[in-house]
Symmetry: C2
Amino acid sequence: SAKIVAIANQKGGVGKTTTAINLAAAVAVAEKDVLLVDIDPQANATTGLGIEKDAEQKNLYHVLLGEVPLDSVLRKTELSHLMVAPSDNNLFGAEVELVSVPERERRLREALQPLRARFDYIFIDCPPSLGLLTINALTAADRVIVPLQCEYYALEGLTSLLNTVRMIKDSLNPELAVDGILLTMFDRRNAIAHRVSEEVRQYFTDQVFETVIPRNVRLSEAPSFGKPIMLYDIKSTGSESYMALAREILSA
Amino acid sequence: SAKIVAIANQKGGVGKTTTAINLAAAVAVAEKDVLLVDIDPQANATTGLGIEKDAEQKNLYHVLLGEVPLDSVLRKTELSHLMVAPSDNNLFGAEVELVSVPERERRLREALQPLRARFDYIFIDCPPSLGLLTINALTAADRVIVPLQCEYYALEGLTSLLNTVRMIKDSLNPELAVDGILLTMFDRRNAIAHRVSEEVRQYFTDQVFETVIPRNVRLSEAPSFGKPIMLYDIKSTGSESYMALAREILSA
Ligand SMILES: Nc1ncnc2c1ncn2[C@@H]1O[C@H](COP(=O)(O)OP(=O)(O)OP(=O)(O)O)[C@@H](O)[C@H]1O
Ligand SMILES: Nc1ncnc2c1ncn2[C@@H]1O[C@H](COP(=O)(O)OP(=O)(O)OP(=O)(O)O)[C@@H](O)[C@H]1O
Ligand SMILES: [Mg+2]
Ligand SMILES: [Mg+2]
């Protein structure tokens, strides 16, 4: 049965989508069956894998409102072992539309239940907030990966996120645990990056991945071609680091 | 009476807080009376100006719930013409707590009304979402500045944001208009940056600021010392570009 991993951090622009796409792709390249769920209304993971937004097609918004089952919205990608549950801008309205629905925090968990046997890994890309959509992802997940940009503000927000994870664990999802903190956009010429990295390793010792994702312009170019990094430029440091992360997670 | 300007974009990490702090500070250095309102629960604009989070002190959370007037929470900064209305992590709960409150979208607008005569400019730093807190900022504001990182995903989200601005203008705030799109973190060695900048100027011709904010590591160092860029390193390109933006806005 699939291991479900949420990629979450309410701080914006820290590399959640870049991690969700490229880690899911790297694990699929290792011949595991992978599903990437995009629960961010911005739908960056959807378009970053070349899936056009299409008003005619149903997507995760319709699934969370209970109109269609999750497996009816799955889309193929260029990687045979990777499928995507696409998002849509109308998910911006889901927070309000789900307010009066019973067990609104468990909608994603219920929708994923019938699919767990078909995949080895299910990754969930989250929006930059601690609202209902991220809570749905944390309620559905077994593990959380926290991308952390090596910058001052990113460190500030870590405590709020870890508090939220503990709250979800105590109330909605006792299985939930932090898989690890992933240092992203690491630029070794930048003093702040070293300071943040040292502080994180000091406070969170065994919860930080060995793999560090460097700042690499090829990672920001790949989504404009709708490809994960290993299909865009497999020799890049960006591709190598996400393949290393996949190996670290698969061997844990 | 003060001109109220929201700094908004639901895409995360595009430079909203960096723009809010440094533009507000640059306008204050030009001897205008400025208030910076931090309506982001992450409270980055608050800590980026060296204001410690203090559970004993009231903040914007208590103002939006109607417990205290806004002028009772204002804090001084190192710049004599700049004051801050600080935020707090408990604002993460405001979206839910305000759900059943009448006219919940107008709470900030009502709270700012009595202060408009005391300031020349009021800037509002928004969270990376289109939820109730950003809607409060757009309902209170006369103008919106949209920081846009010169990256692929940042361009994707622009349409949703401009749709939301139009919706607020039609329903809650007829005065609201876009002041301009501000290109941020521009790295002239990066091909994507040039592509995004050309595309934005082509589609939004007269709505893009002349001033472009370059990627400058000093901008990401300054908040860890609790200072706006002109007090941290006035000779940096970061400081020069925000001073140029202030001149462009003041002369409009
Ligand atoms: N290691 C990296 N090197 C260079 N650029 C990167 C790297 N990781 C991400 N980026 C770029 O930085 C920007 C922010 O990354 P991304 O969109 O993945 O963050 P996010 O946390 O998903 O943002 P949001 O909070 O809006 O969901 C994107 O333009 C992306 O292409
Ligand atoms: N021009 C710049 N050059 C270099 N670094 C920058 C620049 N502008 C912002 N930064 C850094 O990039 C990161 C993101 O910027 P910032 O936090 O201001 O974005 P934001 O849009 O407010 O994020 P959020 O969506 O989380 O509110 C911060 O670490 C900041 O210090
Ligand atoms: Mg994202
Ligand atoms: Mg911010």
